[in-house]
Symmetry: C2
Subunit: 98 residues, 2 copies
């Protein structure tokens, strides 16, 4: 059964349906609320609907950046791992009995 | 100088200001538009403003999940690295001259 959770974002109450627990739903709502407030401080007089769109774009940007950094890190870890394996193989080579 | 980029989300045009290039801004807009369409298909008759909020929450959820998976992965990589170092040390121990 899915939970029905009440959250407040930018002065309005919303009902979320999902498997998330109360604390997590509040954390998500607080994050979106914070982003909308940030957007509002940069562009006064903007409608809440547009602020929500701008917040969504901003959060999508953070998601894309994190994905991109993760991809770069995976490549780096792969390269480093290969370097270490090569180095170990060289070290063992020195002990090799001909 | 910051770019001014026009994007279309859910039938409305928005002007984004930032350092992002055209292609990236369009990618972000398409992502938010897709999320709003998904939300709309699950809750018909919902206002675009609420759909934008739900999309923002949904994208924040993806961001949080990715952060959490990355943290778990970092711990796993740390553990595996320690295991490998210990194993290498044991291997070298066998070659040690007393």
């Amino acid at each position: 059964m899915k939970n029905k959770l009440q959250v407040e974002i930018f002065g309005h109450r919303y009902t979320l349906r999902g498997d998330a627990d109360e604390a997590y739903a509040q954390e998500l709502a607080a994050y979106v609320d914070k982003k909308m407030s940030e957007m509002a401080s940069h562009s006064r007089g903007t409608s809440p609907a547009k602020l929500a769109i701008l917040a969504a774009i901003n959060i999508a940007h953070e998601l894309f950046q994190l994905r991109s950094r993760q991809k770069e890190r995976d490549t780096l870890i792969g390269d480093k791992t290969r370097d270490i394996i090569e180095s170990i193989e060289e070290q063992f080579e020195e002990f090799k009995l001909d």
